[in-house]
């Protein structure tokens, strides 16, 4: 009998975590954006619960700043799985005056937190499963797999519940909730290796395609209606792919010719820039920006 290989171990751990959520939480939800990490979560949920339906609805907090392909993908995947999807829009939060934007084209990543906390309150979710990974960012490196949020949705990094062995404590009082990260221990490379192994479909924009972009610092910024070029900038048509597919106004592609998952794995294995560094403008602002947003209720 040989020990499990590392992807099997990570998968088994994630299934165990999802089943703990189903057993311990009264009213959980799974956050599904159509991005690669949440696509992996859906496969893990199938592995944890089929032949039965998922014991939770899928929830998408829609920034309104989407890549059309990703939304189409999201809807297709949900109907294939025959699961329930709840969509709540940042747009509506803004209309209700519960969030303010300086301009239409500003990133809505931070505002997402408000809509998320509103949605949690609306449905009284006591646990939300998300696809965050500890290798993404340094504030995440210290986050628990079962991460406690108080009634304001806030994360207190100095006062986290100890998490020992794999004995998870998901108990909360009414109004409080858990954020649960079954793929905490996965890296970007693990995610792509798993997508390859499981032959999972992902939105086309993860693969190399030609797209008009401008160069800004170390980043390539896609030219879209929401992100027009600045006057001095030169628009180029380059082969690129996206490593994350968040808010269109702050998600950048990387130069790449990787047209299939094997090619992406080869690139990821030798890449020299972090996933967030290359692709997220909002994390570049300060060393503590992710930590700050999480304290305010962000994922």
């Amino acid at each position: 009998m040989s020990a499990l290989n590392h992807l099997d171990r990570l998968e088994s751990e994630a299934i165990h975590i999802m089943r703990e959520v189903a057993a311990q939480s009264k009213n959980p939800a799974l956050l599904f954006s159509g991005g690669k990490d949440s696509i992996v979560l859906l496969r893990l949920a199938e592995k944890a619960f089929r032949p039965l339906a998922f014991p939770f609805p899928l929830v998408h907090i829609d920034t309104g700043h989407n890549f059309a392909e990703v939304i189409a993908f999201r809807d297709r995947r949900v109907s294939e799985l025959k699961e329930k999807l709840i969509v709540r829009r940042v747009e509506d939060t803004i209309k209700q005056g519960r969030a303010r934007v300086k301009s239409e084209n500003d990133s809505r990543n931070a505002l997402q937190a408000i809509t998320l906390v509103d949605t949690i309150n609306e449905f009284q979710f006591d646990a939300c499963i998300g696809g965050a990974r500890r290798d993404e960012e340094k504030a995440r490196a210290k986050e628990r797999i079962f991460s406690f949020r108080d009634e304001f949705g806030a994360w207190d990094p100095k006062n986290q519940r100890p998490e020992i062995w794999s004995l998870y404590n998901a108990r909360v009082h009414p109004g409080e909730n858990m954020r649960v990260f079954p793929i905490s221990n996965w890296t970007e490379l693990d995610v792509w290796s798993y997508i390859a192994r499981e032959r999972l479909a992902v939105p086309e924009i993860y693969y190399a395609h030609k797209r008009p972009v401008v160069r800004r610092g170390i980043q390539l910024v896609p030219v879209t209606e929401l992100t027009p070029p600045r006057p001095e900038e030169v628009v180029e048509e380059l082969w690129v792919r996206f490593r994350t597919v968040g808010d269109i106004t702050c998600t950048c592609p990387v130069a790449s010719e990787a047209k299939d998952v094997e090619a992406i794995i080869a690139e990821t294995a030798v890449t020299s820039v972090t996933e967030r560094g290359a692709t997220r403008m909002d994390d570049q602002t300060s060393e503590a920006s992710m930590e700050l947003r999480k304290k305010q209720g962000y994922f």
């Binding site: 089943r19 504030a139 062995w165 404590n169 890296t187 693990d190 094997e262 060393e287």
Partner: protein, 425 residues
């Protein structure tokens, strides 16, 4: 070193914890491991170079890579366990990076609870410190059987073989009594990189492995594969296929220890009913057998009334079913144990009301002695007698980590207040 292999499907996973006293060079060592194994990205490097310059340092301080939270950066200390990831062509690694201060025993317990191996870091000039003893003792207590002794800052003693041997001997003198399977000592300079990933040229007298070679070759702890079969039931699903008369009951869970095959004789606890395994299923199809660490679905040949918290176990080697047992408890909460509070004990998938019935002694881990105690405060490790409202199915922690461990939850606040390990009565 080679780049990572493009497909890493066949690599093993090794989890290790790093322990050292403040200033022994733990952050530098981890930064060096990540940097030399190319797990560091340009943008991270750019960020820490900028910070190093701002702080007036001439070289990029690799220790900054492991800086975490804002409060930690402000105070220049680490306050919590951080997990870090890197891989080589042979293995995928998860580091539990735990701060070394006295008050953080709880973090070490957390980090050690899931580790296969521990790196004990020492400053060669200082030799064995009280902290070194404490760290070594805790990792052994938490069931880690292999340690790597990283004797650091060799550059400050002119890479002298004699000094290394002395410190190594001094360590063995006290650690041999703790019963580790393996203690491997590596001399190194985390700052300059010698013997971490690259051998360097300064210690030709050292013929052993570099740190990364050791990490790539130490055995992943497989004791748990050879322990008796334990399967705490997480969830029970009832399904009825069209045309089937009876509903089938599916028991979902993870094999926590040992292995199980279709046809094996098992006992369902606490009911004590004997039956056999009818099938082992996964989303990817039926299996003939499953081993520790695998999440599967089991069905049994008889209809047994089973719910979450029950255990399916090897019939010939069942666990102890007890309402009262001895344990070592590490108290994790700021508030001391208050016996008037209602406590819950979670063991596997079972949650029961519990009482700490007696405090036997406190472990003074700095000196490896037992001292009498009347209270249990944060970071204390105390031998106690636990009583639970309903029987639980336990093994001794020393022979079965997953089935010998539990946590204690304060029912009122929902906080996890203690970690416990079952010991011989």
């Amino acid at each position: 070193m080679d780049q990572h292999l493009p497909t890493q499907q066949h690599t093993e996973l090794l989890r290790f914890i790093t322990c050292g006293s403040v200033d022994d060079g733990k952050s530098t060592l981890i930064g060096r491991l990540l940097f030399d194994s190319k797990a560091i990205f340009e943008d991270q490097l750019a960020a820490i170079s900028a910070t190093s310059q701002r702080r007036g340092m001439s070289e990029t301080d690799l220790a900054l890579l492991t800086d975490g939270l804002q409060a930690e950066r402000e105070q220049g200390i680490t306050i919590d366990v951080a997990y870090r990831y890197f891989s080589t062509p042979k293995r995928r690694f998860i580091i539990a990076d735990t701060p070394g201060h006295e008050q953080y025993t709880r973090n070490m317990v957390t980090g050690a609870s899931t580790a296969d191996v521990a790196i004990i870091l020492m400053d060669v000039r200082k030799g064995v410190l009280t902290q070194t003893r404490r760290h070594t003792h805790i990792v052994r207590l938490l069931g880690i059987r292999q340690i790597i002794l990283a004797i650091n800052k060799m550059d400050l003693v002119d890479f002298d073989e004699q000094t290394f041997n002395q410190v190594h001997q001094e360590f063995l003198t006290f650690a041999n009594a703790l019963g580790f399977d393996d203690i491997i000592a590596v001399p190194m300079s985390a700052l300059q990189g010698d013997m971490v990933v690259d051998r360097g040229t300064s210690m030709p007298w050292y013929q052993g492995h570099t740190l990364i070679d050791v990490l790539e070759s130490v055995k992943v702890d497989e004791n748990i594969q050879h322990a008796p079969f334990r399967f705490p039931v997480q969830l029970v699903h009832r399904v009825r296929n069209s045309g089937e008369l009876n509903e089938r009951r599916l028991y979902l869970g993870r094999v926590e220890s040992g292995h199980v095959s279709v046809g094996d004789e098992v006992v369902v606890l606490p009911a004590g009913v004997n039956t056999t395994v009818a099938s082992i299923d996964t989303y990817d199809g039926a299996l003939k057998s499953a081993t520790a660490g695998q999440s599967v679905t089991i069905t049994l040949s008889e209809q047994v009334d089973i719910s979450r918290g029950d255990m399916i176990a090897q019939k010939s080697h069942p666990p102890r079913t007890e309402k009262s047992f001895s344990a070592l408890i590490c108290w994790l909460s700021n508030a001391e144990l208050d016996v008037s509070k209602r406590l819950l004990l979670r063991h596997g998938t079972q949650t029961v009301a519990a009482k700490i019935a007696a405090l036997e002694y406190k472990l003074d881990i700095n000196h490896s002695i037992h001292v009498p105690t009347e209270k249990m405060a944060m970071n204390d490790i105390v031998k106690v007698l636990v009583r639970v409202q309903q029987p639980i199915n336990i093994d001794n922690y020393e022979s079965n980590r997953p089935n010998g461990s539990f946590i204690i939850i304060d029912e009122l606040t929902n906080d996890t207040v203690a970690a416990g390990m079952v010991v011989e009565n």
